[in-house]
């Protein structure tokens, strides 16, 4: 009904997170005297965190369904090393290596999904076992060695879009991508609004919608500008493109499709879902399997970026991914969370990491700050829930970003529409 609202997950919590993210960026931009928002730094930030953000996408679905996955770092490492070895020893082309990695991820996911969904062992246990199992397998297969990957495979983790067309001083493909995204966001926003209004649903007033769209478009265009004007030969990085594609795809799946609804239903109340005809076992199996496939992909992107696969790749990734999901507003008890929220949560952590690093803050202090931020974000949430109030940023943004109170006319308008069974 409302593409933008959907884009942000439509709750005050996430608007709050967006504000927090913007505030952080501005803060570091000032403190670092403009280094934060430079092409080079943004590319670093994206390349250095894409694999965690990809994990967060899978993780939020797992957590919505009421589970957890502790094994993603080990799976990423195991898939990474297997693919590196296969490319080296069997002379596989890069794309065959990628396919092999995804297939291996699927097999691992099916294994874990089987125990979780069909045998009924809590995912915490299954994936704790998997964490040890696949870490061990990584070191067994690789004999604890570091295995390099060829240059064409590195494209996956460190590549850029080619320069094509006339020399405009910008990376042309990045510019095109940016413009296309803006066009898509604007048309979807307006069309969704018009359709909802026709049906008599409550829609935000036009100026609210327009402001929203303008803000989003400006942000996209600014990012486009930064990515398109990096040092020659650079553009929006390949991991970033993969990430954006996955966010759009999974964001759509989770909010707009039947399977997405089923994931929320199972996490919200499994028994009620089953009595409504949802096959909860199948849903649980699929989220676990999907997580492992994405973990495999994340592992391969990381290997591409670091040019080799090693025995300690992926250590602690699960924790970063889980933190991103919870900062992004998911609930430990399941049933709550969004893909976009988790990405924002992950970005908050990434910007924090990056900014503190630029300021020369040590790894120790960075850890402490990140830990406190996680706690604060969730505490804030819990406190607001207990008070029954929206967040502070939510209240500030209420006039701008939330919907209007329901209107009697709108309700009457839907009066005579009767659903029919085809």
């Amino acid at each position: 009904m409302n593409a933008i609202k959907q884009l942000f997950g439509g709750n005050t919590r996430q608007f709050g997170m967006i504000f927090a993210l913007v505030a952080l960026v501005v803060f570091f931009q000032i403190m670092t005297e403009g280094v934060t928002l430079t092409s080079g730094n943004l590319m670093n930030l994206l390349n250095g965190n894409a694999y965690i953000l990809i994990l967060a996408i899978g993780m939020v679905l797992v957590i919505i369904a009421g589970h957890i996955d502790l094994s993603v770092g080990s799976i990423a490492a195991f898939v990474g090393i297997t693919v590196a070895l296969a490319i080296r020893d069997w002379d596989l082309p890069w794309w065959a290596g990628v396919l092999l990695g995804l297939a291996l991820g699927a097999v691992i996911g099916a294994w874990q999904g089987f125990w979780v969904a069909y045998i009924g062992i809590p995912a915490f246990i299954v994936t704790l076992a998997g964490m040890m199992l696949f870490r061990g397998l990584n070191q067994f297969v690789g004999k604890s060695n570091t295995i390099p990957v060829p240059e064409d495979f590195q494209y996956l983790g460190a590549g850029y879009l080619p320069e094509i067309g006339p020399n405009t001083g910008y990376n042309n493909l990045t510019v095109l991508l940016g413009l296309a995204t803006v066009a898509l966001v604007v048309t979807m926003g307006l069309r969704g609004r018009a359709k909802a209004a026709r049906l008599g649903a409550v829609v935000a007033p036009m100026w609210v919608q327009a402001t929203k769209l303008a803000l989003i478009s400006a942000a996209i265009l600014y990012a486009t500008y930064l990515f398109a004007t990096g040092r020659p030969g650079t553009s929006l990085p390949i991991p970033g493109i993969i990430l954006i594609g996955l966010v759009l795809f999974y964001g759509f799946i989770s909010s707009r499709t039947v399977i997405g609804r089923h994931i929320y239903a199972v996490g919200g109340n499994r028994h009620a879902a089953e009595l409504s005809g949802v096959r909860s076992k199948k849903v649980n199996f699929m989220v676990m399997m999907n997580m492992a496939i994405l973990a495999g992909l994340a592992g391969m992107i990381f290997v591409g970026r670091s040019t080799a696969s090693g025995p300690s790749d992926g250590m602690m990734w699960e924790l970063d991914a889980i933190a991103a999901v919870f900062i992004g507003g998911a609930a430990v008890t399941g049933g709550v969370g969004t893909v976009v929220g988790s990405i924002i949560g992950g970005l908050v952590m990434a910007v924090l990491n990056n900014g503190l690093q630029l300021l020369g803050v040590g790894a120790d202090a960075t850890q402490i700050i990140k830990g406190l931020v996680l706690l604060a974000a969730v505490a804030f949430d819990v406190y607001n829930k207990s008070q029954g109030k929206p967040s502070i940023t939510g209240m500030l943004s209420r006039g701008l970003l939330t919907k209007n109170k329901p209107q009697a006319e709108a309700v009457e308008a839907a009066e005579d529409k009767i659903p029919t069974r085809a």
Partner: protein
Amino acid sequence: MQTPPTGHQSPLILEMRSITKEFPGVKALADVNLAVRAGEIHAICGENGAGKSTLMKVLSGVYPHGTYTGDIYFQGAVQSFRDINASEQAGIVIIHQELALIPELSIMENIFLGNEPTRFGIIDWAAARVRAMELLARVGLADSPDTPIKEIGVGKQQLVEIAKALNKSVKLLILDEPTAALNESDSQHLLDLIRGLKGKGITSIMISHKLNEIEQVADSITILRDGESIETLDVANDGVNEDRIIKGMVGRTLESRFPDHTPQIGEKFFEVNHWNVAHPQIPDRMVCKDSSFFVRRGEIVGFAGLMGAGRTELARSIFGRSYGKFVSGTITLNGQDIVLRNVAQAIDAGLGYVTEDRKTLGLNLLDDIKATTVAANLKEISPRSIVDRNREFEVAEHYRKTLRTKTPSVEEGVNKLSGGNQQKVVLAKWMFTQPDLLILDEPTRGIDVGAKFEIYGIIQELANQGKGVIVISSELPELLGLSDRIYTIFEGAVTGVVDKSEATPEHLMRLMTSSRVPA
């Protein structure tokens, strides 16, 4: 019914003055006044969503001072409770519409939860046991204090809640729909207990949609309508009866409790034969014993039985084997034998089942109304597996209108609805699956008289469309008023079938309590 001397002349123990409570988009209470005399049983009546539970939550500190406007005077002093503990300190204990006991813990542990008797900081279980026995004796519960809560029925759980309240030296006991989930004899026991407490000087406030009970035990009745206090009736002097209460609640008199209906009964289309199902954990305990029944098109079939007779188990085992272990038996639909292995298959075959336990089995409390309404028939609004949210909105709006669900918008979370309105949303969810056979398990539990009438009308309308309806209910008057034919069930077996024309409460009662299988 003769009641012990009431506190007509006794002083006010509680006065709530111009209480106003708003939720975002809803004014739940507007200038509500409530005056309760010491030692009386004060009933609060009103339609679903009238604000009864909200008023009691204000009183008991669930909604703390400052989140509402108005004053509370309790025992002569202005009170501003910060939380439930504060109101309990003052002697006000609330037993909520949804029970709040911990299923894994024992009766004794639940009674003392948060209030454990200690010696030197260590729980003194010996003292606790003695006290628990005392309290259980007072509420008339014979079970061992070590029995886990999950092993006793709702009726007994209510008694445990009351024992827990008595342990806190309660002066004012608030009961929010205490008998909604109880059968007649358990309800009677509970009402007697409340009356006994009154004899001991404990004042009670009771919310109920069972007006006959209110007429029976209440000394005064305050009526709420749309968040406003309409009137307070004095039962002894004002000649109050059920019709009078209804008039206050809905603002007009209700001519009859059941809509007029001339059944148009067609051919037999759904049949279950020799249905045997075992308990899910205990394979040699049978929960359905060789049960057979059928439903004709356009027919409303009642399932009568005591609580625990196995009606829900029978219904759920048919509904895609969602309960128990299937042993043997056949289901015939439109002359063809079918096998329903899971709920999805049952829904596809045209069955629907509205559960009796909406909180744990019927609703995802995190969802909003529109998502809940379409949850059991997502396919219908999802071409190519993509949910059409405009259709979703339309459908939800349609059912909000037909069932007259009280909510500011279908985008509201179901957790924000009053109990009765949640029930309507669950009904909407199943009506939207357009089932050929709809099984309704206690469909009017917690629903006000006006809405009951509407729901009966909807059930009859479904029947008129040639569908079959099975109604499971513990309220015999409801079954007698609604059903065309009634099966009686006792200990998992069908013990009889009675036509509407021959059905009397006595006859049904006999069949519901005997294992005599009809010839």
